[in-house]
Protein backbone atom coordinates (compact mmCIF):
# COMPACT_ATOMS: atom_id res chain seq x y z
CA UNK A 1 0.00 0.00 0.00
CA UNK A 2 1.21 3.47 -0.78
CA UNK A 3 1.32 5.86 2.11
CA UNK A 4 0.05 9.18 0.88
CA UNK A 5 2.35 12.16 0.89
CA UNK A 6 1.73 15.57 2.37
CA UNK A 7 0.60 17.07 -0.92
CA UNK A 8 -1.77 14.26 -1.76
CA UNK A 9 -5.27 15.54 -2.15
CA UNK A 10 -6.57 12.47 -3.94
CA UNK A 11 -7.46 14.39 -7.10
CA UNK A 12 -5.40 13.66 -10.13
CA UNK A 13 -5.14 15.99 -13.11
CA UNK A 14 -6.06 14.60 -16.52
CA UNK A 15 -3.40 12.41 -18.11
CA UNK A 16 -3.61 14.13 -21.51
CA UNK A 17 -0.26 15.69 -22.39
CA UNK A 18 -0.42 19.24 -23.78
CA UNK A 19 1.61 20.33 -26.83
CA UNK A 20 4.08 22.03 -24.49
CA UNK A 21 7.53 21.44 -23.07
CA UNK A 22 8.05 18.77 -20.42
CA UNK A 23 11.08 17.76 -18.39
CA UNK A 24 12.60 14.39 -17.52
CA UNK A 25 11.89 13.72 -13.82
CA UNK A 26 15.01 13.38 -11.65
CA UNK A 27 15.14 12.49 -7.94
CA UNK A 28 17.24 15.62 -7.28
CA UNK A 29 14.21 17.76 -8.19
CA UNK A 30 11.39 15.86 -6.41
CA UNK A 31 11.12 18.30 -3.53
CA UNK A 32 11.30 21.44 -5.68
CA UNK A 33 8.57 20.16 -7.96
CA UNK A 34 6.20 19.12 -5.17
CA UNK A 35 6.79 22.30 -3.14
CA UNK A 36 6.98 24.94 -5.90
CA UNK A 37 4.78 23.35 -8.59
CA UNK A 38 6.64 24.94 -11.53
CA UNK A 39 4.66 25.71 -14.67
CA UNK A 40 5.74 22.71 -16.78
CA UNK A 41 3.58 20.90 -19.35
CA UNK A 42 4.41 17.37 -18.17
CA UNK A 43 7.06 15.14 -16.64
CA UNK A 44 8.55 12.03 -18.19
CA UNK A 45 9.97 9.10 -16.23
CA UNK A 46 12.25 6.25 -17.13
CA UNK A 47 9.98 3.32 -16.38
CA UNK A 48 12.77 1.17 -14.91
CA UNK A 49 13.42 3.70 -12.13
CA UNK A 50 9.90 3.10 -10.79
CA UNK A 51 9.87 -0.69 -10.74
CA UNK A 52 10.93 -1.05 -7.10
CA UNK A 53 8.31 -2.23 -4.59
CA UNK A 54 8.01 1.11 -2.78
CA UNK A 55 9.95 3.99 -1.32
CA UNK A 56 10.52 7.65 -2.20
CA UNK A 57 10.38 7.12 -6.00
CA UNK A 58 6.76 5.96 -5.83
CA UNK A 59 5.82 8.38 -3.06
CA UNK A 60 7.01 11.40 -5.03
CA UNK A 61 5.75 10.12 -8.36
CA UNK A 62 2.27 9.63 -6.90
CA UNK A 63 2.31 13.21 -5.62
CA UNK A 64 3.68 14.63 -8.87
CA UNK A 65 1.19 12.68 -10.98
CA UNK A 66 -1.64 14.37 -9.11
CA UNK A 67 -0.38 17.76 -10.30
CA UNK A 68 1.02 16.98 -13.77
CA UNK A 69 0.40 14.70 -16.75
CA UNK A 70 3.03 12.01 -17.10
CA UNK A 71 4.85 10.35 -19.98
CA UNK A 72 6.22 6.82 -19.44
CA UNK A 73 9.47 6.12 -21.28
CA UNK A 74 10.93 2.61 -21.19
CA UNK A 75 14.69 2.22 -21.56
CA UNK A 76 15.14 -1.51 -20.92
CA UNK A 77 12.64 -3.61 -22.86
CA UNK A 78 15.11 -4.51 -25.63
CA UNK A 79 12.58 -4.45 -28.46
CA UNK A 80 15.34 -4.82 -31.06
CA UNK A 81 16.73 -8.04 -29.57
CA UNK A 82 16.46 -11.30 -31.46
CA UNK A 83 15.42 -13.06 -28.24
CA UNK A 84 11.81 -13.03 -27.03
CA UNK A 85 10.72 -10.09 -24.90
CA UNK A 86 11.04 -10.49 -21.12
CA UNK A 87 7.43 -11.17 -20.12
CA UNK A 88 8.02 -10.16 -16.50
CA UNK A 89 9.39 -6.83 -17.65
CA UNK A 90 6.50 -6.31 -20.02
CA UNK A 91 4.05 -6.95 -17.16
CA UNK A 92 5.91 -4.42 -15.01
CA UNK A 93 5.39 -1.86 -17.79
CA UNK A 94 1.71 -2.76 -17.93
CA UNK A 95 1.45 -2.27 -14.14
CA UNK A 96 3.09 1.16 -14.31
CA UNK A 97 0.71 2.16 -17.11
CA UNK A 98 -2.26 1.15 -14.99
CA UNK A 99 -0.97 2.70 -11.79
CA UNK A 100 0.08 6.11 -13.13
CA UNK A 101 -2.12 6.48 -16.25
CA UNK A 102 0.56 8.19 -18.37
CA UNK A 103 -0.61 10.21 -21.37
CA UNK A 104 2.14 8.79 -23.59
CA UNK A 105 4.11 5.54 -23.50
CA UNK A 106 7.32 5.04 -25.48
CA UNK A 107 10.28 2.72 -26.01
CA UNK A 108 13.38 2.62 -28.23
CA UNK A 109 14.39 1.12 -31.54
CA UNK A 110 17.32 -0.62 -29.85
CA UNK A 111 18.35 -3.72 -27.93
CA UNK A 112 20.02 -3.98 -24.53
CA UNK A 113 19.64 -7.58 -23.35
CA UNK A 114 21.48 -10.62 -24.69
CA UNK A 115 20.79 -14.06 -23.20
CA UNK A 116 20.28 -12.95 -19.59
CA UNK A 117 22.77 -10.09 -19.58
CA UNK A 118 21.44 -6.54 -19.45
CA UNK A 119 23.98 -4.29 -21.18
CA UNK A 120 22.49 -0.96 -20.04
CA UNK A 121 22.89 0.80 -23.38
CA UNK A 122 20.65 1.39 -26.38
CA UNK A 123 22.49 -0.83 -28.85
CA UNK A 124 21.87 -0.41 -32.58
CA UNK A 125 19.72 -2.63 -34.77
CA UNK A 126 20.73 -3.64 -38.33
CA UNK A 127 18.12 -2.55 -40.85
CA UNK A 128 17.36 -5.97 -42.33
CA UNK A 129 14.14 -7.81 -43.16
CA UNK A 130 14.80 -10.22 -40.28
CA UNK A 131 15.24 -7.40 -37.74
CA UNK A 132 12.17 -5.59 -39.09
CA UNK A 133 10.01 -8.68 -38.60
CA UNK A 134 11.40 -9.19 -35.11
CA UNK A 135 10.87 -5.56 -34.03
CA UNK A 136 7.35 -5.47 -35.50
CA UNK A 137 6.41 -8.72 -33.71
CA UNK A 138 7.76 -7.34 -30.44
CA UNK A 139 5.84 -4.07 -30.79
CA UNK A 140 2.66 -6.05 -31.55
CA UNK A 141 3.26 -7.97 -28.32
CA UNK A 142 3.91 -4.80 -26.31
CA UNK A 143 0.78 -3.06 -27.56
CA UNK A 144 -1.37 -6.17 -27.03
CA UNK A 145 -0.03 -6.76 -23.51
CA UNK A 146 -0.02 -3.19 -22.26
CA UNK A 147 -3.28 -2.50 -24.08
CA UNK A 148 -2.34 0.79 -25.70
CA UNK A 149 -0.36 2.33 -28.52
CA UNK A 150 3.39 2.59 -28.05
CA UNK A 151 5.60 5.34 -29.49
CA UNK A 152 8.90 4.17 -31.00
CA UNK A 153 11.95 6.42 -30.67
CA UNK A 154 14.51 6.82 -33.48
CA UNK A 155 18.04 5.87 -32.33
CA UNK A 156 21.30 7.75 -31.99
CA UNK A 157 23.95 5.62 -33.74
CA UNK A 158 27.73 5.62 -33.95
CA UNK A 159 28.25 3.06 -36.71
CA UNK A 160 26.38 1.26 -39.49
CA UNK A 161 25.85 -2.44 -40.26
CA UNK A 162 27.13 -3.76 -43.56
CA UNK A 163 24.14 -6.12 -43.72
CA UNK A 164 21.51 -3.33 -43.61
CA UNK A 165 19.20 -3.31 -46.63
CA UNK A 166 16.74 -0.58 -45.52
CA UNK A 167 17.41 3.08 -44.85
CA UNK A 168 16.64 4.05 -41.25
CA UNK A 169 13.60 6.05 -42.32
CA UNK A 170 12.18 3.27 -44.53
CA UNK A 171 12.75 0.81 -41.69
CA UNK A 172 10.87 2.97 -39.17
CA UNK A 173 8.07 3.86 -41.61
CA UNK A 174 7.52 0.17 -42.36
CA UNK A 175 7.35 -0.66 -38.61
CA UNK A 176 4.66 2.01 -38.21
CA UNK A 177 2.75 0.56 -41.18
CA UNK A 178 2.89 -2.99 -39.82
CA UNK A 179 2.20 -2.29 -36.12
CA UNK A 180 0.20 0.92 -35.93
CA UNK A 181 2.64 2.28 -33.34
CA UNK A 182 3.24 6.02 -33.07
CA UNK A 183 6.60 7.79 -33.15
CA UNK A 184 8.70 9.65 -30.63
CA UNK A 185 11.02 11.87 -32.68
CA UNK A 186 14.31 12.60 -30.95
CA UNK A 187 15.71 15.63 -32.76
CA UNK A 188 19.05 15.41 -30.95
CA UNK A 189 19.33 11.80 -32.13
CA UNK A 190 18.77 13.07 -35.68
CA UNK A 191 21.71 15.45 -35.35
CA UNK A 192 23.90 12.79 -33.66
CA UNK A 193 23.14 10.09 -36.23
CA UNK A 194 23.22 12.45 -39.22
CA UNK A 195 26.68 13.71 -38.22
CA UNK A 196 28.00 10.23 -37.46
CA UNK A 197 26.53 8.66 -40.62
CA UNK A 198 27.14 11.74 -42.83
CA UNK A 199 23.46 12.25 -43.64
CA UNK A 200 21.78 15.61 -44.20
CA UNK A 201 19.66 16.17 -41.07
CA UNK A 202 17.22 18.51 -42.84
CA UNK A 203 16.66 15.96 -45.60
CA UNK A 204 16.22 13.31 -42.89
CA UNK A 205 13.50 15.34 -41.14
CA UNK A 206 11.78 16.16 -44.43
CA UNK A 207 11.65 12.46 -45.38
CA UNK A 208 10.56 11.26 -41.91
CA UNK A 209 6.95 10.04 -41.42
CA UNK A 210 6.23 13.10 -39.26
CA UNK A 211 2.46 12.58 -39.39
CA UNK A 212 2.94 9.77 -36.83
CA UNK A 213 5.05 11.84 -34.40
CA UNK A 214 3.27 12.38 -31.07
CA UNK A 215 6.24 13.49 -28.97
CA UNK A 216 9.64 15.12 -29.49
CA UNK A 217 12.82 14.68 -27.43
CA UNK A 218 15.57 17.31 -27.10
CA UNK A 219 18.83 16.62 -25.28
CA UNK A 220 22.50 17.53 -25.20
CA UNK A 221 25.37 15.71 -26.91
CA UNK A 222 29.16 15.68 -26.70
CA UNK A 223 31.48 16.06 -29.67
CA UNK A 224 34.45 13.73 -30.14
CA UNK A 225 36.29 12.44 -33.21
CA UNK A 226 36.55 8.99 -34.80
CA UNK A 227 39.73 7.14 -35.91
CA UNK A 228 40.00 9.35 -38.98
CA UNK A 229 39.36 12.66 -37.25
CA UNK A 230 35.75 12.89 -38.43
CA UNK A 231 33.31 14.40 -35.91
CA UNK A 232 31.70 11.75 -33.73
CA UNK A 233 28.76 13.01 -31.68
CA UNK A 234 27.90 11.15 -28.48
CA UNK A 235 24.33 11.16 -27.15
CA UNK A 236 25.21 12.08 -23.55
CA UNK A 237 22.16 13.99 -22.20
CA UNK A 238 24.55 15.80 -19.85
CA UNK A 239 24.29 19.43 -21.01
CA UNK A 240 22.15 22.06 -22.75
CA UNK A 241 20.53 21.34 -26.10
CA UNK A 242 22.94 22.29 -28.90
CA UNK A 243 22.21 25.34 -31.08
CA UNK A 244 22.00 23.25 -34.24
CA UNK A 245 19.47 20.95 -32.58
CA UNK A 246 17.31 23.96 -31.63
CA UNK A 247 17.34 24.87 -35.33
CA UNK A 248 16.32 21.34 -36.34
CA UNK A 249 13.56 21.46 -33.72
CA UNK A 250 12.18 24.67 -35.27
CA UNK A 251 12.34 23.04 -38.68
CA UNK A 252 10.46 19.98 -37.35
CA UNK A 253 7.64 21.78 -35.56
CA UNK A 254 7.15 24.13 -38.50
CA UNK A 255 5.99 20.92 -40.24
CA UNK A 256 4.26 19.07 -37.41
CA UNK A 257 2.81 21.98 -35.49
CA UNK A 258 3.18 22.02 -31.68
CA UNK A 259 3.95 18.56 -30.22
CA UNK A 260 4.68 17.58 -26.58
CA UNK A 261 8.45 18.17 -26.32
CA UNK A 262 10.71 16.75 -23.63
CA UNK A 263 13.97 18.22 -22.32
CA UNK A 264 16.18 15.20 -21.48
CA UNK A 265 19.04 15.70 -19.03
CA UNK A 266 20.03 12.41 -17.41
CA UNK A 267 23.68 12.82 -16.42
CA UNK A 268 25.43 15.68 -14.60
CA UNK A 269 21.87 16.77 -13.74
CA UNK A 270 21.76 20.56 -13.14
CA UNK A 271 19.84 22.63 -10.61
CA UNK A 272 16.13 22.89 -11.41
CA UNK A 273 16.22 26.48 -12.84
CA UNK A 274 18.59 25.35 -15.62
CA UNK A 275 16.13 22.68 -16.74
CA UNK A 276 13.20 25.03 -16.42
CA UNK A 277 15.00 27.57 -18.65
CA UNK A 278 15.46 24.89 -21.35
CA UNK A 279 11.77 24.05 -21.10
CA UNK A 280 10.84 27.76 -21.46
CA UNK A 281 12.95 27.95 -24.59
CA UNK A 282 11.20 24.91 -26.07
CA UNK A 283 7.81 26.37 -25.11
CA UNK A 284 8.66 29.57 -27.01
CA UNK A 285 9.48 27.58 -30.15
CA UNK A 286 6.25 25.58 -29.82
CA UNK A 287 4.25 28.79 -29.38
CA UNK A 288 5.82 30.26 -32.54
CA UNK A 289 5.02 27.09 -34.45
CA UNK A 290 1.40 27.23 -33.31
CA UNK A 291 1.02 30.89 -34.26
CA UNK A 292 2.71 30.32 -37.59
CA UNK A 293 0.20 27.62 -38.42
CA UNK A 294 -2.74 29.76 -37.38
CA UNK A 295 -1.51 32.66 -39.53
CA UNK A 296 -1.07 30.36 -42.51
CA UNK A 297 -4.53 28.94 -41.94
CA UNK A 298 -6.03 32.46 -41.72
CA UNK A 299 -4.18 33.61 -44.84
CA UNK A 300 -5.04 30.44 -46.77
Amino acid sequence: MIVSTAVSGGHRVSGAIPARAGVGLKAQHYRTIVNDRPNIGFFEIHAENYMGAGGPPHRYLSAIREIYPLSLHGVGLSIGAERPLDRDHLLRLKDLNERYAPGLFSEHLAWSTHETTFLNDLLPVPYTEEALTRVADHIDEVQATVGRQMLLENPSTYLAFEESTYSEIDFIAEIVRRTGCGLLFDVNNVQVSATNQQWDPIAYIDAYPLQHVQEIHLGGHAEEADDKGRPLLIDTHDREVDGIVWGLFRHTVARTGPVPTLIEWDSAVPAWPVLEAEARRADAVLLDAGEGRMQRAAAG
Binding site: V3, M51, G55, W111, L119, P126, T128, Y158, A160, D226
Partner: protein, 264 residues
Protein backbone atom coordinates in the same frame (compact mmCIF):
# COMPACT_ATOMS: atom_id res chain seq x y z
CA UNK B 1 24.19 -11.75 -44.55
CA UNK B 2 24.60 -12.13 -40.79
CA UNK B 3 21.62 -13.61 -38.96
CA UNK B 4 20.40 -11.28 -36.19
CA UNK B 5 21.08 -13.79 -33.39
CA UNK B 6 24.68 -14.24 -34.48
CA UNK B 7 25.15 -10.48 -34.87
CA UNK B 8 23.89 -9.77 -31.37
CA UNK B 9 25.92 -12.62 -29.84
CA UNK B 10 29.12 -11.23 -31.36
CA UNK B 11 28.25 -7.63 -30.54
CA UNK B 12 27.44 -8.28 -26.88
CA UNK B 13 30.53 -10.47 -26.32
CA UNK B 14 32.81 -7.79 -27.78
CA UNK B 15 31.10 -4.98 -25.86
CA UNK B 16 31.99 -6.59 -22.52
CA UNK B 17 35.50 -7.68 -23.51
CA UNK B 18 37.78 -4.73 -24.24
CA UNK B 19 40.45 -7.07 -25.65
CA UNK B 20 38.14 -8.73 -28.18
CA UNK B 21 38.42 -7.65 -31.82
CA UNK B 22 35.62 -5.42 -33.17
CA UNK B 23 33.02 -7.66 -34.86
CA UNK B 24 33.18 -7.56 -38.68
CA UNK B 25 30.73 -5.49 -40.68
CA UNK B 26 30.41 -2.56 -38.24
CA UNK B 27 31.44 0.43 -40.30
CA UNK B 28 31.77 4.20 -40.46
CA UNK B 29 30.19 6.33 -43.21
CA UNK B 30 32.97 5.32 -45.64
CA UNK B 31 32.07 1.63 -45.23
CA UNK B 32 35.32 0.93 -43.41
CA UNK B 33 35.35 -0.77 -39.97
CA UNK B 34 35.95 1.66 -37.12
CA UNK B 35 37.28 0.59 -33.72
CA UNK B 36 36.75 4.06 -32.28
CA UNK B 37 33.05 3.98 -33.11
CA UNK B 38 32.56 0.55 -31.56
CA UNK B 39 34.42 1.78 -28.47
CA UNK B 40 31.58 4.25 -27.83
CA UNK B 41 29.28 1.31 -27.08
CA UNK B 42 31.92 -0.40 -24.92
CA UNK B 43 32.40 2.79 -22.98
CA UNK B 44 28.65 3.40 -22.58
CA UNK B 45 28.07 -0.10 -21.19
CA UNK B 46 31.03 -0.38 -18.82
CA UNK B 47 31.19 3.25 -17.67
CA UNK B 48 27.41 3.45 -17.35
CA UNK B 49 27.25 0.40 -15.08
CA UNK B 50 30.31 1.52 -13.11
CA UNK B 51 28.64 4.88 -12.49
CA UNK B 52 25.50 3.08 -11.33
CA UNK B 53 27.65 1.25 -8.74
CA UNK B 54 29.29 4.50 -7.72
CA UNK B 55 25.87 6.01 -7.07
CA UNK B 56 24.88 2.96 -4.99
CA UNK B 57 28.14 2.83 -2.97
CA UNK B 58 29.09 6.50 -2.35
CA UNK B 59 30.91 5.90 0.97
CA UNK B 60 33.01 3.06 -0.46
CA UNK B 61 33.91 5.40 -3.31
CA UNK B 62 34.82 8.22 -0.92
CA UNK B 63 37.06 5.88 1.09
CA UNK B 64 39.05 4.52 -1.87
CA UNK B 65 38.79 7.51 -4.22
CA UNK B 66 37.18 7.78 -7.68
CA UNK B 67 40.00 6.27 -9.66
CA UNK B 68 40.35 3.16 -7.50
CA UNK B 69 36.58 2.73 -7.23
CA UNK B 70 35.96 2.94 -10.98
CA UNK B 71 38.84 0.54 -11.65
CA UNK B 72 37.36 -1.94 -9.16
CA UNK B 73 33.82 -1.38 -10.49
CA UNK B 74 34.88 -2.07 -14.08
CA UNK B 75 36.25 -5.48 -13.11
CA UNK B 76 33.02 -6.25 -11.23
CA UNK B 77 30.82 -5.09 -14.14
CA UNK B 78 32.55 -7.39 -16.61
CA UNK B 79 32.52 -10.33 -14.14
CA UNK B 80 28.93 -9.82 -12.95
CA UNK B 81 26.91 -7.76 -15.45
CA UNK B 82 23.28 -7.09 -14.50
CA UNK B 83 20.69 -9.81 -15.14
CA UNK B 84 17.69 -7.49 -15.29
CA UNK B 85 17.00 -3.94 -16.52
CA UNK B 86 16.20 -2.88 -12.93
CA UNK B 87 19.45 -1.10 -12.14
CA UNK B 88 18.35 -0.07 -8.63
CA UNK B 89 18.78 -3.73 -7.70
CA UNK B 90 22.15 -4.06 -9.46
CA UNK B 91 25.26 -4.74 -7.40
CA UNK B 92 23.97 -7.10 -4.70
CA UNK B 93 27.14 -9.16 -5.16
CA UNK B 94 29.41 -6.12 -4.86
CA UNK B 95 30.20 -6.37 -1.09
CA UNK B 96 31.39 -9.99 -1.52
CA UNK B 97 33.40 -8.92 -4.56
CA UNK B 98 35.03 -6.10 -2.56
CA UNK B 99 35.85 -8.58 0.20
CA UNK B 100 37.77 -10.78 -2.22
CA UNK B 101 39.31 -7.92 -4.23
CA UNK B 102 43.01 -8.30 -3.50
CA UNK B 103 44.06 -4.66 -4.15
CA UNK B 104 41.58 -3.57 -1.42
CA UNK B 105 42.78 -6.12 1.16
CA UNK B 106 44.51 -3.42 3.23
CA UNK B 107 41.02 -2.06 4.03
CA UNK B 108 39.44 -5.11 5.72
CA UNK B 109 36.33 -3.11 6.77
CA UNK B 110 35.55 -1.92 3.23
CA UNK B 111 33.22 -4.82 2.36
CA UNK B 112 31.23 -4.22 5.57
CA UNK B 113 30.78 -0.54 4.67
CA UNK B 114 29.53 -1.79 1.29
CA UNK B 115 27.08 -4.09 3.11
CA UNK B 116 25.61 -1.10 4.97
CA UNK B 117 25.22 0.78 1.67
CA UNK B 118 23.58 -2.23 0.03
CA UNK B 119 21.16 -2.50 2.96
CA UNK B 120 20.41 1.22 2.54
CA UNK B 121 19.55 0.77 -1.17
CA UNK B 122 17.32 -2.23 -0.45
CA UNK B 123 15.53 -0.40 2.36
CA UNK B 124 15.02 2.62 0.10
CA UNK B 125 13.20 0.57 -2.56
CA UNK B 126 11.39 -1.90 -0.29
CA UNK B 127 7.62 -2.26 -0.04
CA UNK B 128 5.62 0.13 2.13
CA UNK B 129 4.18 -1.07 5.47
CA UNK B 130 2.91 0.68 8.59
CA UNK B 131 4.97 -0.10 11.72
CA UNK B 132 3.36 -1.06 15.02
CA UNK B 133 3.32 1.85 17.47
CA UNK B 134 6.07 1.83 20.15
CA UNK B 135 3.58 0.80 22.87
CA UNK B 136 2.32 -2.20 20.88
CA UNK B 137 3.84 -4.83 23.16
CA UNK B 138 2.86 -3.13 26.42
CA UNK B 139 -0.60 -4.70 26.42
CA UNK B 140 0.73 -8.23 26.10
CA UNK B 141 0.62 -10.46 29.20
CA UNK B 142 4.31 -10.76 30.23
CA UNK B 143 3.78 -14.50 30.67
CA UNK B 144 2.95 -14.87 26.97
CA UNK B 145 5.63 -12.55 25.64
CA UNK B 146 8.10 -15.38 24.98
CA UNK B 147 5.61 -16.96 22.56
CA UNK B 148 4.99 -13.75 20.60
CA UNK B 149 5.92 -13.82 16.95
CA UNK B 150 6.90 -10.43 15.59
CA UNK B 151 6.60 -9.74 11.89
CA UNK B 152 9.44 -7.54 10.67
CA UNK B 153 9.02 -4.49 8.44
CA UNK B 154 9.72 -5.38 4.78
CA UNK B 155 12.43 -2.71 4.54
CA UNK B 156 14.38 -4.02 7.57
CA UNK B 157 17.99 -5.12 6.99
CA UNK B 158 20.82 -6.00 9.38
CA UNK B 159 24.52 -5.44 8.65
CA UNK B 160 27.14 -7.00 10.95
CA UNK B 161 30.84 -6.26 11.13
CA UNK B 162 33.92 -7.34 13.11
CA UNK B 163 35.08 -3.75 12.59
CA UNK B 164 33.62 -0.34 13.50
CA UNK B 165 32.02 -0.29 10.04
CA UNK B 166 29.04 1.82 11.10
CA UNK B 167 31.35 4.54 12.46
CA UNK B 168 33.38 4.44 9.26
CA UNK B 169 30.24 4.55 7.10
CA UNK B 170 28.86 7.56 8.99
CA UNK B 171 32.17 9.42 8.57
CA UNK B 172 32.10 8.77 4.81
CA UNK B 173 28.39 9.18 4.12
CA UNK B 174 27.06 12.51 2.88
CA UNK B 175 28.11 15.37 5.22
CA UNK B 176 30.32 12.97 7.21
CA UNK B 177 33.80 14.05 8.34
CA UNK B 178 36.47 11.34 8.15
CA UNK B 179 38.68 10.95 11.22
CA UNK B 180 41.07 8.31 12.56
CA UNK B 181 39.32 5.11 13.66
CA UNK B 182 40.79 2.39 15.88
CA UNK B 183 40.08 -0.81 13.96
CA UNK B 184 40.68 -2.83 17.14
CA UNK B 185 37.86 -1.02 18.96
CA UNK B 186 35.43 -3.86 18.31
CA UNK B 187 32.68 -4.84 15.90
CA UNK B 188 29.55 -2.84 15.11
CA UNK B 189 26.17 -4.15 13.97
CA UNK B 190 23.45 -1.96 12.58
CA UNK B 191 19.79 -1.93 11.63
CA UNK B 192 18.89 -0.26 8.33
CA UNK B 193 15.25 0.38 7.53
CA UNK B 194 12.70 2.78 6.07
CA UNK B 195 9.60 2.82 8.29
CA UNK B 196 8.06 5.69 6.27
CA UNK B 197 9.64 8.19 3.86
CA UNK B 198 13.27 8.19 5.04
CA UNK B 199 15.88 5.45 5.45
CA UNK B 200 17.26 5.36 9.01
CA UNK B 201 20.38 3.56 10.28
CA UNK B 202 20.56 2.54 13.97
CA UNK B 203 23.45 1.03 15.91
CA UNK B 204 22.39 -2.33 17.37
CA UNK B 205 23.34 -3.18 20.97
CA UNK B 206 25.24 -6.41 21.78
CA UNK B 207 23.24 -9.47 20.66
CA UNK B 208 20.72 -7.24 18.86
CA UNK B 209 21.70 -8.44 15.40
CA UNK B 210 21.41 -12.11 16.39
CA UNK B 211 18.02 -11.37 17.96
CA UNK B 212 16.63 -9.69 14.82
CA UNK B 213 18.05 -12.34 12.51
CA UNK B 214 16.36 -15.10 14.56
CA UNK B 215 13.06 -13.19 14.45
CA UNK B 216 13.49 -12.82 10.69
CA UNK B 217 13.95 -16.59 10.49
CA UNK B 218 10.54 -17.08 12.15
CA UNK B 219 11.56 -17.69 15.77
CA UNK B 220 9.27 -16.63 18.62
CA UNK B 221 10.50 -13.81 20.86
CA UNK B 222 11.73 -16.13 23.64
CA UNK B 223 13.73 -18.35 21.33
CA UNK B 224 15.23 -15.32 19.59
CA UNK B 225 16.26 -13.86 22.97
CA UNK B 226 18.00 -17.14 23.88
CA UNK B 227 19.90 -17.06 20.59
CA UNK B 228 20.87 -13.44 21.25
CA UNK B 229 22.21 -14.29 24.72
CA UNK B 230 24.20 -17.15 23.23
CA UNK B 231 25.60 -14.70 20.68
CA UNK B 232 26.53 -12.11 23.30
CA UNK B 233 25.96 -12.46 27.04
CA UNK B 234 25.52 -8.69 27.36
CA UNK B 235 22.22 -8.93 25.41
CA UNK B 236 19.51 -6.81 27.06
CA UNK B 237 16.05 -7.83 25.86
CA UNK B 238 14.03 -4.84 27.07
CA UNK B 239 16.53 -2.25 25.80
CA UNK B 240 16.74 -4.01 22.42
CA UNK B 241 12.96 -4.28 22.10
CA UNK B 242 12.58 -0.59 22.98
CA UNK B 243 15.05 0.36 20.26
CA UNK B 244 13.36 -1.87 17.67
CA UNK B 245 9.89 -0.58 18.53
CA UNK B 246 10.96 3.05 18.30
CA UNK B 247 12.67 2.32 14.98
CA UNK B 248 9.40 0.90 13.63
CA UNK B 249 10.85 -2.57 13.11
CA UNK B 250 7.61 -4.56 13.57
CA UNK B 251 4.44 -4.57 11.51
CA UNK B 252 2.48 -7.28 13.32
CA UNK B 253 2.49 -9.52 16.36
CA UNK B 254 0.66 -12.80 16.86
CA UNK B 255 0.86 -15.97 18.88
CA UNK B 256 0.22 -18.56 16.20
CA UNK B 257 2.56 -20.90 14.43
CA UNK B 258 5.04 -19.36 12.01
CA UNK B 259 3.31 -18.77 8.68
CA UNK B 260 4.48 -20.65 5.64
CA UNK B 261 7.31 -18.78 4.05
CA UNK B 262 8.54 -17.24 7.29
CA UNK B 263 11.05 -20.00 7.88
CA UNK B 264 14.59 -19.42 6.60
Amino acid sequence: MQPLAERQRGFSAAVLNADAPVPPGLVGPDGVPSARRFAVYRNNVVVGLSEALKAAYPAVCRIVGDEFFLGMARIFVVAQPPRTPLLHSYGDGFPEFVESFEPASSLPYLADVARIERAWTEAYNAAEATPLPPAALAAIDPGRLAEARLRLHPSLRVARSRFPALTIWRMNAKDGIPAPVDLQSGGEDCLVMRPAAEVAVHALPPGGAAFVLRLAAGAALGAAAEAALADDERFDLSATLALLLSAGAFTDVDFGNPKAGDAP
